[in-house]
């Protein structure tokens, strides 16, 4: 699975901006995971790889790692809506309040 990643660059000069909202993914965006009040945490031991969390995440922040067969969450962009936890039949995803361990 190829997914965009957050790319860093210095400030864009006005002439470097694209004409319109079409550009290499990962640039010109800002992390908005800070909107989150609760974070989903996956308990890998309970996960059956059914992909319901991946399919239902409205922000596309759940992805399968390239290095091993398990799901991970992009916390730069996860807003903490909790849909993944609701959809997870085995109960592998728990919502943990931000600011707690």
């Amino acid at each position: 699975m190829i997914r965009p990643y957050l790319r860093e660059k210095g400030a864009f000069a006005i002439g470097e901006y694209p004409e319109g909202t079409a550009f290499t993914a990962g640039y010109l965006t800002s992390r908005n995971g800070g909107w989150r009040s609760e974070r989903p945490v996956i308990d890998i031991s309970k996960c059956v790889m059914c992909s319901q969390c991946y399919l239902h995440c409205p922000d596309g922040t759940i992805f399968e790692l390239e290095t091993e067969k398990r799901y991970a969450i992009d916390y730069d962009f996860c807003k903490g809506c909790g849909i993944c936890a609701k959809m997870c039949k085995p109960g592998a995803i728990t919502m943990i309040p931000e600011g707690t361990a």
């Binding site: 319109g20 079409a22 550009f23 965006t29």
Partner: protein
């Protein structure tokens, strides 16, 4: 079909769109726009236009669908009117910010309430800030010619901005004129195929139609604004090219009629302009130096052209078919920001009411008497 044809404004525009060879047309019917999409759907059906005609369930979907098609890199057309334009209003800045060079014909029609299907310009003038180029045709020939030029201008790499071509509902969409329809080969010479990088491309994947936070947002709007301002020179280029191929010459963002030495000028837009020219002729016959300035484009706004045209005038009036409730006509507000000439405002033609030559002669007489203010034709001065 080429040569001289007796067609309505809607049919003329459809003929122009066919010559532009769009690949996708998505539209929802609404009076008085219906005929333009009916004709185009017939052309797709009989094979004389090689396009996908997508029937959608609403105007919001019509423009959303057009954005999707444009993002696939093909020439795209839609059309609407009145409540339909307002229903797709959410999508207008979306298409503009995404820099999708969609062309849309809008049949200018009153907006409810009171419910009314007849022509005025309240619909498009309520959407001046949406980021779309806005042009106003005065007759069926110009409608056809705008249909061709609109794609050239919208798709030009210096512009890449959607284009709304406005035709006065019924007065222009449903009246018949003899129109010169160019042949397809000449039209192809004028209008090259769409080439854009602003599309889904598996060989060069990119993020499209994304969000931009406080740090980047203004830069996109700035670039949009700069591109819109370039329409002035790109339209001039299109019109020069058009004149070279088809022999018909247009005059940029405005069209002047005897304004050079005019003491009294009516500034207006759309189909009523012809009647204003007749009235100016009648005033000239009475020894009054009258002129008409027709606004062809509201976006980009022709501030420079208006300032120049009104410079020597003793007084000018803006005649328009809309009212920005609680202020004045929207065009008046904009013109007032571009000129120091004494300026008054006449609101007429609302909900399809006729504007007569006598009304226009009365405006010239008011200008001569130094009368200012905001007036509703047939009713009187607004309090």
């Amino acid at each position: 079909m080429s040569g001289r044809e007796f067609v309505s404004g809607n049919e003329a525009f459809a003929a122009g769109v066919r010559l532009a060879r769009p690949k996708v047309i998505s539209a929802y019917p609404i009076t008085p726009q219906t005929v333009v999409v009916e004709r185009l759907s017939e052309m797709v059906e009989d094979g004389s236009l090689d396009a996908d005609f997508i029937h959608v369930e609403s105007e919001h979907s019509a423009l959303s669908c057009a954005m999707g098609a444009s993002a696939a890199g093909v020439r795209t057309f839609t059309a609407t009117s009145s409540q339909g334009l307002l229903y797709m209003a959410e999508c207008l800045p979306y298409a503009a910010g995404g820099r999708f060079p969609i062309v849309m014909m809008n049949a200018n029609r009153s907006i409810a309430l009171p419910w009314n299907i007849y022509g005025d310009q309240s619909d498009s003038l309520s959407q001046l800030s949406s980021g779309w180029i806005q042009a106003y045709a005065q007759d069926a020939q110009e409608a056809l010619d705008l249909a061709l030029m609109s794609f050239y201008i919208a798709e030009h790499p210096d512009v890449s901005t959607p284009y709304m071509a406005n035709l006065d509902g019924f007065h222009l969409t449903h009246t018949y004129e003899i129109v010169d329809v160019p042949d397809a080969i000449a039209a192809d010479t004028f209008l090259p195929p769409l080439r854009t990088d602003n599309k889904i491309d598996f060989t060069a994947p990119k993020n499209m139609a994304f969000s931009a936070g406080p740090g980047h947002n203004a830069a996109f709007k700035y670039r949009q604004h700069a591109a819109m301002l370039r329409v002035r020179s790109v339209a001039a280029e299109a019109e020069e090219r058009f004149a070279g191929i088809f022999g018909r010459r247009y005059t940029g963002l405005t069209e002047s009629y005897m304004t050079d030495d005019a003491d009294f000028i009516i500034v207006t837009l759309g189909a009523v302009s012809g009647l204003c020219r007749d009235a100016a002729d009648a005033m000239r016959a009475r020894g009054v130096r009258a002129g008409v300035l027709r606004i062809r484009y509201m976006r980009p706004f022709p501030g420079i052209e208006i300032s120049d045209a009104l410079r020597g005038a003793k007084a000018a009036a803006v005649l328009e078919k809309d009212i920005s409730i609680g202020k004045s006509g929207a065009v008046f507000t904009e013109v007032a920001g571009a000129t120091d000439a004494p300026l008054s405002n006449y609101i007429g033609g609302l909900g399809g009411e006729d504007i007569s030559e006598e009304d226009i002669l009365g405006i010239y007489e008011d200008l001569r008497s130094g009368r200012g203010g905001v007036h509703f034709l047939g009713i009187g001065e607004a309090e």
